[in-house]
């Protein structure tokens, strides 16, 4: 009996010893340890590629938390900077789509205060301030990469690309909210105090962060990239030019710097002028990366928005109403390959439609009637009853695929010409011939005569003409609200279209205000520029 006890005790003790503390760590598969990554040029490149993710076209991405990509309809610059501008009539007939669509298109931004930090489909972008920290961390890792693992040339290139992406992130956030708290110094990443600090930086300081990134990129990103859609120095220059112009009203010498950039472009761009309507043709699949394109998001027809596929272009689903593929005679409509869209979230306000001069080729990209699913013609007289505005057909449906392969334009030479004209005018505070010529080049391509003399008779008249031209030329390219604010005309223009913007920039969500308060900093919910033409809160 005693022997049995001893055996049992031994057995138990053995089991106990064998199953204790040894070799008892988490087993994690499918990932790389923080101790041995990155360790090669391709590691660094793949790590840097995180910075491009927000600028791909997928439904959503998660760097810090889940949010929309910048060029996808549900949360893009088009929704937030075109949909909130003069040419988009409020989408009232949205049916079950929910009120955020109607409100943003009406200029009513107050509900954005209620957006929560957990992803729920809203275009909640304040959370992207954390993405800036993620990019700063990557920039820090790249800066500290030893030469043995990453050559100086590649390091400069990757750093340039990463900083261009970070600059763009800060740029877009500024267009949404005004200056927002960010961490741009890699040494501050992980620092409790810095990460807690949600106070807005001064306008000048924040402007400088963006300038620094764009200038670094313009000097370090390659002039040419063999991969279409990968960022180039010229794209950095374009971003910089736009930024200089936006902030010239409070930064010394920015207008001149914007004007000086014009001659620095190395890509030999010119306006696309082939075909009967070159304006419309330039956006088609056949003419990707034509002579006018400085940068675009390169999309293909096979992609559907999934992360593991490439960039897709879903815009037609948001531009086209419930339309028929064929007319009553059985002939194909412009929507033949797709049929009706999900909802006509974005449109052209009929009142804005009237601002186009007769013969403007750009107006041909707007459709003023369609056959509905009962194959009945819906036209201008049905506005307000069956539809809210006309159809944007600038990115036409060309293929019988779920989504289109059309590229999304980021920077075009026409834009540069108009920016240059504006920069010259603002820098010299006068109208000069070069500026007029730039505008007229753009008008000529649209089939229009030169500006009449009344439009160039004064600086303010000329600036008005440039603003009108930008609206027609760049509609639904994601910059209208920025332009209207830069020209100090956002509130007045929207009022003229029967909409009252509830504020100049979007309010920062309540959650962030509360968090800032809890952390001992003050985060102003609203930001207004000094030359805003509307009432402030």
């Amino acid at each position: 009996m005693k022997r049995n006890i001893i055996f049992a005790a031994l057995a138990v003790a053995g089991l106990m010893l064998s199953s204790c503390e040894n070799d008892f760590n988490a087993k994690i598969y499918g990932s790389l340890s923080t101790t041995n990554f990155p360790s090669s040029e391709s590691d660094y490149e793949n790590y840097m590629m995180d910075c491009y993710v927000p600028y791909c076209i997928k439904w959503t991405y998660t760097l810090s938390s889940q949010t929309h990509n910048f060029y996808v309809p549900e949360g893009s610059i088009v929704r937030l900077l075109d949909g909130t501008s003069d040419y988009c009539a409020p989408w009232v007939l949205g049916g079950s789509w929910g009120d955020s669509w109607k409100k943003l298109t009406s200029g009513s931004f107050e509900d954005m205060k209620y957006y929560t930090r957990a992803y729920s489909g809203y275009p909640e972008d304040f959370g992207k301030t954390r993405d800036v920290t993620v990019m700063t961390k990557i920039i820090g890792v790249l800066e500290n990469a030893p030469e043995s693992k990453l050559s100086a040339a590649k390091k400069a290139q990757f750093l340039g690309e990463a900083r261009l992406c970070r600059g763009l992130m800060m740029y877009y956030l500024m267009q949404y909210f005004g200056p927002v708290p960010v961490i741009v110094d890699p040494a501050k990443v992980g620092d409790e105090e810095s990460e807690k600090n949600l106070t807005r930086p001064t306008l000048d300081a924040y402007t400088q962060y963006i300038t620094d990134d764009f200038e670094f990129a313009a000097n370090n990103v390659p002039e040419k990239q063999s991969q279409k859609g990968r960022y180039t120095a010229d794209y950095a220059r374009f971003c910089l030019m736009r930024h200089y112009l936006n902030e010239g009203y409070h930064m010394n010498g920015y207008y001149q710097k914007a004007a000086d950039l014009f001659s620095k472009f190395t890509g030999g761009y010119k306006l696309y002028t082939d075909g009967t309507n070159p304006y419309a043709d330039q956006f088609k699949i056949a003419h990707k990366f034509n002579c006018e394109v400085i940068m675009a998001v390169s999309c293909s027809t096979g992609a559907t928005g999934t992360g593991t596929q490439g960039n897709f272009n879903p815009w037609s689903w948001y531009f086209v109403p419930k339309a028929s593929k064929v007319d009553p005679n059985g002939n194909p409509t412009p929507f033949y390959y797709q049929g009706g869209g999900w909802g006509q979230c974005f449109n052209i306000d009929p009142q804005y439609y009237k601002t186009f001069e007769d013969g403007d080729l750009r107006r041909e990209t707007i459709l003023t009637s369609y056959y509905n699913t009962q194959n009945k013609l819906v036209g201008p007289s049905d506005i307000g009853n069956l539809w809210d505005g006309y159809i944007v057909n600038k990115y036409p449906i060309e293929t019988a695929t779920s989504f289109q392969g059309t590229d999304f334009p980021l920077a075009r030479w026409a834009d540069v010409l108009l920016l240059y004209a504006e920069a010259l005018t603002r820098a010299g505070n006068s109208v000069n011939a070069t500026a007029i010529d730039c505008v007229n080049q753009v008008r000529a391509r649209a089939g229009l005569a030169k500006l009449t003399s009344d439009k160039t008779s004064s600086t303010s008249n000329f600036l008005d003409a440039i603003l009108a031209e930008r609206g027609h030329e760049l509609m639904y390219e994601g910059c209208r609200k920025v332009d209207l604010i830069r020209f100090g005309k956002y509130y007045t223009t929207m009022k003229a279209y029967g909409r009252t913007p509830s504020s100049e920039y979007f309010p920062i969500p309540n959650y962030a205000i509360d968090q800032a308060t809890a952390a001992g900093s003050t985060l102003d919910q609203y930001f207004y520029t000094s030359n805003y033409d509307g009432p402030t809160k």
Binding site: S19, K27, E110, W342
Partner: protein
């Protein structure tokens, strides 16, 4: 010698009560014990001295009604000799004159009788229904009910009608006080939400081995197929409900012995085992016919077209301020969507009825049970087939189970359990869309409800018709979605007696592995997710296994009258693995489909994963019974997990519980109507280590590729997925419970009542990071949640007579959960309660009625955007004459009471069982409100339900549902809180089963009696009716959905069954 005496005394107490008559037996006084022990001791001594003399003993074994018991085992104590009673209950045996005979029969208390030279021994066996000695399985042991110190609810499987029951969790609905089982899907094998006292998923321990609680399911193909998941099935899919002996629910500190993961309580499942006795073969089979409960009726073509015209005009008038919406005169604008001739000529396609159908179930079960003293065996085979009540929905299952116990040597016993199952599920789709898709990727039932009734199935060319981007519901039936599941489970337990009846060692090894293979295929002919003419598919394989290795020492010893000690110490190691691999593909020949993926010419995307985790534990348990009056029990467990960092891996989980057997006190001696009265209290700690993600920082491939040049240059970005979080450790739940067990009037009324108070502290979860940190959230031990409530069960024997009996069991439970502390940095909304907020809080503005056509009933404080006729009138709860966040009401949506009531009647050979359960006092959103949208009708984007007739409009000013103005208002009320529009009272009382049976036993089987032991015929109706104020739908099945494209649930069903049970 002293030791032997003590040991025998214990034996005496444990094994003799059956021979006593009346409930006083447990209160046998010490004199009796000693004298009997002495006698026995003398007798045993005489045996060992060996005055051997063989005699023939015979007799008859009867039950309390003096009916013979057939097949009762009669054996000689300590020997292998034995026999079985015949059809008249008679037995005959050659035994030693000094031997002791042991009589046993399932459901009866075993008895021992000393022969002492008698040649005729007649026995009356008592049915083993006495509350006192009912054995309750606890973790690592069992205890008689009178000595139970904790709150454990027991469900005896044989008491539960299992007709048309596909899963073990369906047996729990309304059966155990304190356990809330709610159906979350009515699909075959559908999911049941099981919570113990309002906690999360409990752990399931089958014969000592912790099993995964969720079902293993492979994905449906992600963004390639965009197939809705369509799957909501219960775990333990391989366990045949008929193989279950009992289910014990550990509700309080009793769970502490399972330390890790037991924070939400433990469900212990004990399966059927072999029993000594003749081979017993049982066949139990049933066929069921299933019909759907009433489902939402959609509009027919005429109604649809008329309503479309009505609301198109209504929308026009609203937008232009005409009629009741502003006073302008209607200018005859807005042409009708459908002309009178179109309406009169229209035919209706009833899409919904083409997706719903009648179902059926057939189940066949064979068990073989028997054994000798050396070997006991239980074998069962089951075939179950259920044709679902939705097209393309079905489940088929085979299970085989064997449970063999063998006495290898005099001191070693090996118990082996093997279980194999093969399940084939056809996943019929109902509602819900995946990957953020809307109605273009609906389930077939949601599509059928959305699709216009005016459209035929096929167009003139024979192709499926199209309606906007909604898939053709009938076309969807050509899609394949099936899951093949296989499971294999084995369990070895080796018991070694070190000191017989006092100390034994046990080693246990359990291994469970499951696979799930899912095939999803969309043929070229189906228009789905806006794609026509492209085939897409997904083949996914998932695997998981878990193994348990435990060793323990078990001690059991009585110390005279003073104390009886029962103790266990042990340790264990638990390892889980999972991995999976899958391929999605496009463009393949429809006939080849998933059988040869190399034929796919489109995009082929592979994926895989692998995980593993491990836990190590040491544990100890003891219980001591002093003077048969006071019981103290304690457990201590030390658990380690690989999830946490080095210094945080291990945690202690102690528990202590006490019971005071009041009925054994001297002052209770004369109160004879009390058979048992016991007060108990427990305190214990359980833990949880499962955060769901890693706490170790790592870089990983980011499945959000960056591509250039028309997506021909691909980069797979590498992303920092997390940092190291070395401070995170165990979440702990402190459980406190006070309970009372009683049995009175000769056990006619018995039951228990418990009050509990659980604090979940150091809750594992995520808190919001500092505003600018790289990760939006970080893992932390933060919040504190409190759950409290009570549960009770009462069993009564209302009528006990020779021919007629009526027994009832009532279970009641109530719980509430409140936040004592939220995670640091939690974002409160303006109107949210910050102190003691209910866990299931729902906030809304109350409404009462609609603004009428002339606005005469509209209060002055009504918010501007809701000032149109047909908008709901808000209630100014605080009466300050304006609507502010102070008017937001907080409603706790936990049911105020769960109850279940089982009534069982027998009359001669007839038996009738009626079981019902209920949830009272709760509100739910009714999604019929998502199917009455006037704006969808105005735009002709969806069919709607017949409840549209309740919608307010110019022509229906008495409508009770909000009109077009409400849909178009799109206003945010202060604080962005919603309204109670669409919420309804959702209490219900469900009659779950009515079962009528008739048993032919040896007496009335006639000539069949030679071949068959007994035959039972039964008829059963499952879910015969439901009482509820909830409109149209069954409120038990989840009805919260108001998501884009979803809005349809698997219908609740009613089953009519006929069953037959043979015992050979």
């Amino acid at each position: 010698m002293l030791f032997l005496t003590l040991n025998l005394m214990k034996m005496d107490k444990k094994e003799f009560p059956g021979s006593q008559s009346g409930p006083q037996s447990a209160r046998t006084n010490s004199t009796q014990i000693i004298s009997k022990t002495f006698l026995l001791l003398m007798f045993l001594l005489s045996t060992t001295l060996g005055f051997a003399q063989q005699i023939n003993v015979s007799g008859v074994v009867l039950d309390e009604q003096s009916e013979p018991i057939i097949g009762a085992a009669v054996k000689v104590a300590g020997q292998a000799t034995g026999t079985i009673t015949d059809v008249d209950g008679k037995y005959s045996l050659e035994v030693n004159a000094n031997a002791t005979l042991e009589f046993s029969y399932v459901g009866y208390q075993p008895m021992k009788v000393a022969v002492r030279g008698q040649k005729k021994i007649n026995i009356t066996m008592r049915e083993d229904v006495r509350t006192l000695n009912e054995v309750i399985v606890t973790g690592y042991g069992s205890v008689s009910k009178k000595n139970l110190t904790t709150s454990i609810a027991k469900v005896k499987a044989d008491d539960v009608i299992k007709t048309a029951t596909s899963n073990m969790s369906q047996m729990l609905m309304g059966r155990a006080a304190g356990l809330q089982a709610t159906m979350s899907s009515a699909q075959p094998g559908g999911g049941i939400n099981v919570t113990i006292r309002g906690g999360g998923d409990p752990i399931y321990v089958v014969d000592g081995v912790v099993m995964p609680s969720s079902s293993l399911e492979s994905a449906s193909g992600g963004t390639t197929t965009v197939m809705p998941s369509s799957v909501n099935r219960s775990g333990l899919a391989g366990l045949n409900p008929d193989d279950i002996e009992s289910i014990e629910v550990l509700k309080d500190a009793s769970a502490s012995i399972y330390g890790y993961g037991a924070a939400n309580g433990v469900v212990l499942i004990t399966t059927k085992k072999g029993k000594e006795g003749n081979l017993k073969v049982t066949y139990d089979g049933a066929m069921s016919y299933t019909t759907n409960y009433k489902y939402l009726d959609m509009l027919d073509s005429q109604d649809y077209m008329n309503y479309a015209n009505t609301f198109k005009k209504e929308l026009y008038m609203y937008k232009n301020g005409m009629g009741i919406y502003g006073g302008k005169t209607y200018d005859n604008g807005s042409a009708d969507a459908y002309s009178a001739s179109e309406i009169s000529a229209a035919t209706t396609t009833n899409w919904r009825d083409m997706i719903l159908r009648d179902g059926s179930t057939s189940s066949h079960n064979i068990t073989i049970q028997g054994g000798t003293p050396k070997l006991q065996y239980y074998l069962s085979g089951n075939y179950y087939y259920q044709k679902g009540s939705v097209q393309n929905s079905a489940m088929e299952r085979f299970t085989l189970r064997s449970n063999v116990a063998s006495q290898l040597t005099s001191f070693a016993k090996l118990t082996t359990t093997l279980n194999y199952n093969k399940n084939t599920n056809h996943n019929g789709s109902v509602g819900g869309s995946s990957n953020g898709r809307g109605s273009q990727a609906d389930g077939s039932l949601a599509a059928a409800m959305t699709y216009l009734p005016t459209l035929p199935i096929y167009d003139s060319t024979g192709a499926y018709t199209c309606f906007l981007t909604v898939p053709n519901p009938i076309g969807m039936l050509d899609m394949t979605d099936k899951t093949l599941g296989e499971g294999f489970n084995m369990n070895f337990t080796l018991d070694i007696d070190i000191i017989k009846n006092m100390l034994k060692a046990r080693g246990l090894f359990g291994y469970n592995r499951e696979t799930s293979d899912r095939y999803v295929y969309i043929p070229t002919t189906t228009y789905y997710d806006q794609i026509m003419g492209q085939s897409r598919g997904s083949t996914q394989h998932a695997f998981r296994d878990n193994s348990t290795l435990e060793g323990m020492l078990m001690f059991n010893k009585g110390f005279g009258e003073l104390m009886n000690l029962d103790a266990v110490i042990g340790m264990g190691r638990y390892v889980n693995h999972s991995n999976g691999i899958g391929v999605t593909y496009t463009d393949i020949n429809d006939i080849i489909n998933y059988t040869d993926l190399s034929a796919a010419t489109g995009t082929i995307s592979p994926s895989s994963y692998k995980t593993s985790d491990e836990k190590r534990s040491q544990f100890a348990r003891f219980s001591a019974d002093f003077l048969d009056k006071y019981v103290i029990a304690g457990t201590l467990r030390r658990d380690g997990t690989d999830k946490f960092f080095k210094s945080k891996k291990y945690a202690w989980f102690p528990s202590v519980s006490l019971a005071w057997k009041i009925f054994n006190e001297d002052f209770m001696k004369n109160i004879t109507w009390v058979n048992m009265l016991k007060l108990r209290a427990s305190y214990g700690v359980t833990g949880n280590d499962n955060l769901g993600t890693s706490l170790y920082g790592a870089y990983g491939a980011y499945n959000n590729y960056v591509e250039f040049s028309n997506n021909t240059n691909k980069y797979v970005p590498i992303k920092l997925e997390g940092e190291d979080y070395p401070n995170v450790t165990w979440e702990k739940t402190v459980m406190k419970n006070i309970g009372l067990d009683f049995s009175i009037f000769k056990d006619r009324i018995s039951g228990s009542f418990d009050y509990f108070w659980n604090d979940i502290t150091n809750m594992l979860g995520y808190a919001n990071s500092n505003g600018l940190s790289m990760f939006a959230t970080y893992p932390i031990n933060g919040a504190h949640l409190r759950r409290y409530g009570w549960d009770a069960s009462i069993t009564t024997k209302n009528i006990v007579s020779k021919e007629f009996t009526w027994n009832s069991t009532l279970t009641l439970s109530h719980y509430n959960s409140i936040w004592k502390e939220r995670m640091p940095g939690y974002d409160y909304t303006e109107y949210q309660k910050q102190k003691d907020e209910p866990y299931a809080a729902l906030y809304f503005y109350r409404t009462g009625g609609l603004v009428n056509a002339d606005k005469s009933n509209m209060p002055s404080y009504q918010p501007a955007a809701y000032q149109q006729p047909g908008c709901p009138i808000l209630k100014d709860l605080n009466g300050d004459g304006k609507i502010t966040v102070a008017d937001v009401d907080c409603v706790n949506v936990v049911p105020s009471l769960y109850w279940g009531l089982d009534n069982n009647f027998t009359y001669k050979n007839w038996d009738l069982d009626i079981f019902m359960y209920s949830q009272l006092g709760l509100k739910k959103y009714n999604y019929i409100n998502s199917w009455i949208s006037p704006s969808e009708l105005a735009n002709q984007t969806s069919n709607e339900s017949k409840y549209v007739s309740d919608v307010f409009s110019t022509s229906n000013p008495t409508g009770t549902k909000p009109g077009i103005a409400y849909y178009m208002a799109n206003v945010s009320l202060p604080g962005n809180a919603g309204t109670d529009v669409g919420y309804e009272n959702a209490w219900f009382i469900r009659v779950r089963n009515i079962t009528l049976g008739y048993t032919f036993n040896q007496k009335n089987l006639g000539s069949l009696a030679k071949y068959v032991n007994s035959v039972r015929l039964y008829a059963d109706v499952q879910n015969p009716f439901l009482i509820t104020p909830f409109t149209c739908y069954d409120p038990e099945v989840y009805t919260g959905g108001n998501y884009k494209g979803g809005k349809a649930e698997y219908p609740m069903t009613r089953s009519y069954s006929l069953g037959l049970k043979f015992t050979f």
